[in-house]
Every structure is written in structure tokens, then in C-alpha cells.
Amino acid sequence: SLLFSDEGPADTAVLTRDQGLSYYRCMQTIRRMELKADQLYKQKIIRGFCHLYDGQEACAAGIEAGIERTDHVITAYRAHAFTYTRGVSVREILAELTGRQGGVAKGKGGSMHMYAPHFYGGNGIVGAQVPLGAGIALACQYQGNGQICVALYGDGAANQGQLFETYNMAALWKLPCVFVCENNRYGMGTSVERAAASTDYYKRGDFIPGLRVDGMDVLCVREATKFAADHCRSGKGPILMELQTYRYHGHSMSDPGVSYRTREEVQEVRSKNDPISLLKERMLSNNMASAEELKEIDGEIRKEVDDAAQFATSDPEPPLDDLCKYIYHNSPPVQVRGTNPWAKLQSVSSS
């Protein structure tokens, strides 16, 4: 990793057995959850947008390992993994994807709009989450609570103007914000070389120190995140982290993902650079766990995900009474016009 400042994250890291098992479990759960979503989508039980994260697991797992629970995270639409790492169960995530009342957003949000304490989605408009993240960081600074915000975006969003407005204000005001570019080499179908005059995304923050990190290695991600978080927490202002990663699926479920890249490329990453395999090999070769143990964990995860899918396919859809609920918060009920003048619906607010 390369830096603008004098120090950098440590070159070595310590991985305990417990940590290793925890990261393994986390990444494997994400992997299986995303593949289950793929399956449900192909069965037309999930509809609309579905942007899958398989291949990028080390990013979400590593970031969560490098921050505190009380820190804040906001990301774009490839958000299922972060929803999980921030504490939402697989079953609530899958049930949201299938649009059921047991979904984390009660079926109102879908794939791109899932929320949890200190997790602000899930955002559908490319780049919009970055200023939002800086705003969350401003709130941390204002409240003096020592917390930071991790604001993620992709290589595609890296060219959005609002990011540069945000970098300017974050640096000016020394906001405790870690900007993270998950560079998976393609913005939808456009490779980084075709989209950016400079593909050194870690440098695009200009006056904001940046580091480039191997996003397939959960330990690299963790250490870089810790370093970045410390930087922010010590009042030095924002920092930018580029995670070099890869997605196995296409941009979304409607994209086979092979018109703009070769199958060989995908296969190459899968066989040589898979984040879960990397961790597994590391643990096995250091005698931190046995193959049987990991297989047992796999089995538990498979069951967890299958149960979650079962719930997600059997839970009822939200009642029609929910249609106009929670437009506002802490507000007297308002009448909502339905599809025709005689359809006078009532909106109850959340509280």
C-alpha cells in the first residue's frame, strides 16, 4: 500500500484463531447468502434490483473487524454484506429481498434500502452516499463522541462530482470520515481504464492522504481500516482507502457479466485470489483450524442460510395497511390520496 503521509499501516498483522474463525464465518455467510439470493432471483422470488457482493467479502468483513460497533458505515447499493456485518440477520436480509413483512425494512425498501443502528444503507443514487457519510462524520465530530464514519463507494462513483465537493469539505473541516473506494475494476460494464483519466483511486482525494489496499485479503483490509480509523479518531481529518477487489457476478442480476470482461478473467480471480480461500489456506497452513472444523462451519452456515431462505419465501407480504405507513416520523396522521379520488388512505407516522 502506498501513502501520502509518513506512516502507514503495519506490514505485519496478528491473527488469532478466534479472529480467523470469525472472519471465515463472516465471509462464508456473506458468500452463501449472496448465492442464495442469486438462486431466489432466478426463481423470480426476488425481483427488481439485486447487486451481489460475492468476491468482495474481505472488504466488508475486514472493515467491520477494523472499526468499532459504535462507528458508522454507509455504502451504495451493493449493500447486503454490510447490512449483515452491521448486525442484521441473514433471514431479515433475505426476507427484505423477497419483499416480506419480516424483512429488515418491512418490505418497504428492498435490496438497496436496508438500515440498522449506525448503518445508513444501502443507497440507490451513485455517489450520493458519500456526502451523506461526511455528514455522519460531522455529527460525530459535533457530538464529540470519538466515533468515525466509513463511507464506501465504487470505482464508478469515484468520478461523481459530489465526491470532490465532499473531499474538500471533509478536509477543510477535518471530518472523521474514512472514504473507501471498493475498486472492483468495473463500473457496471465500463472498465476503470475506460472511465477514469486516473485509475489511482487512492490518489483521487488529492489533499486527502490515500492508501491502496489488497481488498481480497481480509487482514490487509482490517489493518488498513484500523490505521485509517485511528487517523480520523486522532483528529487528523479524513483519509481515503482504495480496496482492490473483484465481483464474480455481473453488475446486477440482469448482467451476465461477460460482455465486458472474459470468463477467463473471472476464473483466474476465483482460483488464485478468492478471499475465503486465501483465509482458509492461511489458517490451515498455520494449523489454526482443521479442514473438518471449517467444513462444519460451512455446514452450519448452509443451514442458517437455508432456514433464512425458507423464512423469506414463506413469510407473508406486508399488509396493504402498510402502504401509507411511515411517510413521516412523529407526525399527526395525514390523509393520503390513493389511485382515485375515493381512495382516501391514512398515513400513520413512525415514532
Binding site: G109, P131, G135, I136
Partner: protein, 359 residues
């Protein structure tokens, strides 16, 4: 089936009687206060009351506000709570919304609402829709405020009215005060509201003084969002307006009163939610409705009122179709004579009322 009365332009009601609506005596005039000072007082009181409230925008701090609405606040509250931003609407609006997500109560100022177009995605997609998308999990207690609509000689890019644009969107509350009491009471309400509120001021009103009652001067004076006010009762025709045009309606009403035509002037105060009940009750009394706004006619506030009246009980009480008085459907020109004729003048309102009443 539509009542036949709707098609008869009898005009009888207008010439009915020499009824003069009595002016109810007001409380002894407390203080004269300009709209900008009322807004200032509102923000000052709310900043003092709740430390989560803060103001950000261009020139709000050291410049005392582009229109001096935030005068003195930076000196009193300091850098953390009154924040000068770079010229980065999309960026700072997103930052403001994010701060609202994470527990603060920002007031995000647009130097004029014309510049809010740069940031409109953050207002609509990040602020307005979030409570609903999150099934009530994530509230967004934010106020977006600034001058809206036409000013004087600032030409096309600086004169647009955004009432219809913002009021179109569920998840927002949209407020448009007229006088100083409105300004103070509604801004305090907006700041205390846990939802995104678009608060549209008017530059030409900033320097206009109004009487402020004792009650209005108190620190807890809050007006309800969603309730209109009848500024002037009358029996012959209902005038519905918002912002600066309310004053024009009252002026027109004063002229017409001399001819025996008594106008009921309703100050909407809120565009969303709109006090449809108040409009309907009035129309059911007067049988005639004229809407007056500064914005463009197509898809505007008046258009919405027409649709609402058509769909409700008041339709059968209309003796004439609803008339809309609006800005001219053109980008705002610069030359004074052209600009003056691009917005509703008192004579346009009077003319429209008489046409509606068929007198």
C-alpha cells in the same frame, strides 16, 4: 352529476348586500418586526433551545447571511453551530442530510432555491424518501430554507418558484410563510419537526415589517404545519394564496370592498400538507374560488387546488369554474416593465375576481 348552478354566471351573490365584514379589533400593537428579523429570532431561539440544531450554508456565518437573515448568529453561537460552506450545494446538502441521519438537526440554507436544483437529489432521494424506505427506522429531521420565487431584476435563472416541484413529493413538508408571524411560527415548527421541511421564504418580503403580537414574540410560539389562516373573512369569493401574493390579495380585497365585493383571503402557509378543508369550507360559503401564486401556471399550486376542489364536496358549491392567477408562463425577463408584467399584479387579481363573479 354537476349542479346546474355551476354553469350559471349569475353573479347575484357578488352584488347581494352591502355587508361589510367587521374588522375584529386586534390586540394592542406590540412590536413591528420585519420578516428577516422574525426568521432570525426563530433560529436564535431554536439554536438556544436545542444544541443539536445548527445552520449551514453559503455566507451564513461571517457574512451574516447573504440577505442578513442569520445576522448575529455566528457571533453568538460560533463556528461549530453556524457553518460557512464552500459553493458546493450537492456536497453540503448531502452532508446536512447525513448529519440529520446521525442525530443532529440541521438547518440547510440555499442562498436561493434556484441553487437547490444542484442538490435536489439529496433533498428528494436522501431526505424525503428515507423514513418511508426504512419503514420508519431512519428519521430525517432537517430544514431546507431560503428565498424562493421572483425577486426584483435578478432575471430568469434566479427567479423560479419551486413550490410545485417540492410539494409534488411525498415525504417532504413544504411551507411558504407570508408575514412575520408566519415566518417565526412556521420556522420554529419546521425546526422542531422530525421530518424534512422545505421552508420557502421570499426575498422581497424580508424587509417588510408586520405587527407581532405578544404571543408571537414568545419563545414557544409555534404555528402548526398544514393549517391555513383566514387573513380576511368574506362572503363573495375565496382567494387562496401563499407567500408574497397573500399581500396582493389583501390589497385587491381592500379595493374591491369599496365596490361591495367581500373577498375571503386564505393564506395557505403550508403547501404540503395543504389545508384542503379550509379551502373547501370557504368555497362552500362563497361559491367562488380564485387562486393566486407567483409561480408558473402549468402543474402549479393553483392547478393542484383546482384538482382538489373538483374531487371534493366543494365542487357542487361552485357557481363558476375556479380561476388561477399565476406568473406568466415564461422565463423571467429582466427589463422592469417586462418583469412587472410577468407576475400577478393587483389589477390582475381584481380583474380575475370580477370575471369569476361575472361582474
Amino acid at each position: 352529476m354537476a349542479s346546474l348552478r355551476c354553469f350559471l354566471r349569475s353573479g347575484k351573490n357578488a352584488m347581494a348586500a352591502l355587508q361589510r365584514s367587521g374588522f375584529h379589533s386586534s390586540a394592542p400593537a406590540a412590536v413591528q418586526m420585519m420578516v428577516r428579523d422574525a426568521l432570525n429570532q426563530a433560529m436564535d431561539e431554536e439554536l438556544e433551545r436545542d444544541e443539536r440544531v445548527f445552520l449551514l450554508g453559503e455566507e451564513v456565518a461571517q457574512y451574516d447571511g447573504a440577505y442578513k437573515v442569520s445576522r448575529g448568529l455566528w457571533k453568538k453561537y460560533g463556528d461549530q453551530r453556524i457553518i460557512d460552506t464552500p459553493i458546493s450545494e450537492m456536497g453540503f446538502t448531502g452532508i446536512a442530510v447525513g448529519a440529520a441521519f446521525a442525530g443532529l438537526r440541521p438547518i440547510c440554507e440555499f442562498m436561493t432555491f434556484n441553487f437547490s436544483m444542484q442538490a435536489i437529489d439529496q433533498v428528494i432521494n436522501s431526505a424525503a424518501k428515507t423514513c418511508y424506505m426504512s419503514a420508519g427506522f431512519q428519521a430525517v429531521p432537517i430544514v431546507f430554507r431560503g428565498p424562493n420565487g421572483s425577486s426584483a431584476g435578478v432575471a430568469a435563472q434566479h427567479s423560479q418558484c419551486f413550490a410545485a416541484w417540492y410539494a409534488h413529493c411525498p415525504g417532504l413538508k413544504v411551507v411558504s410563510p407570508w408575514n412575520s408571524e408566519d415566518a417565526k411560527g412556521l420556522l420554529k415548527a419546521a425546526i422542531r419537526d422530525d421530518n424534512p421541511v422545505v421552508f420557502m421564504e421570499n426575498e422581497l418580503m424580508y424587509g417588510v415589517p408586520f405587527e407581532m403580537s405578544e404571543e408571537a414574540l414568545s419563545k414557544d410560539f409555534v404555528l402548526p404545519i398544514g393549517k391555513a389562516k383566514i387573513e380576511r373573512p368574506g362572503n363573495h369569493v375565496t382567494l387562496v394564496s401563499h407567500s408574497r401574493c397573500v399581500g396582493h390579495c389583501l390589497d385587491a380585497a381592500a379595493v374591491l370592498a369599496k365596490e361591495g365585493i367581500e373577498c375571503e383571503v386564505i393564506n395557505l402557509r403550508s403547501i404540503r400538507p395543504m389545508d384542503t378543508d379550509a379551502i373547501e369550507a370557504s368555497v362552500m360559503k362563497t361559491n367562488h374560488l380564485v387562486t393566486v401564486e407567483g409561480g408558473w401556471p402549468q402543474f402549479g399550486v393553483g392547478a393542484e387546488i383546482c384538482a382538489k376542489i373538483m374531487e371534493g364536496p366543494a365542487f357542487n358549491y361552485l357557481d363558476a369554474p375556479v380561476t388561477r392567477v399565476t406568473g406568466v408562463d415564461i422565463p423571467m425577463p429582466y427589463a422592469k416593465i417586462l418583469e412587472d408584467n410577468s407576475v400577478p399584479q393587483i389589477k390582475d387579481i381584481i380583474f380575475s375576481i370580477k370575471k369569476t363573479l361575472n361582474v
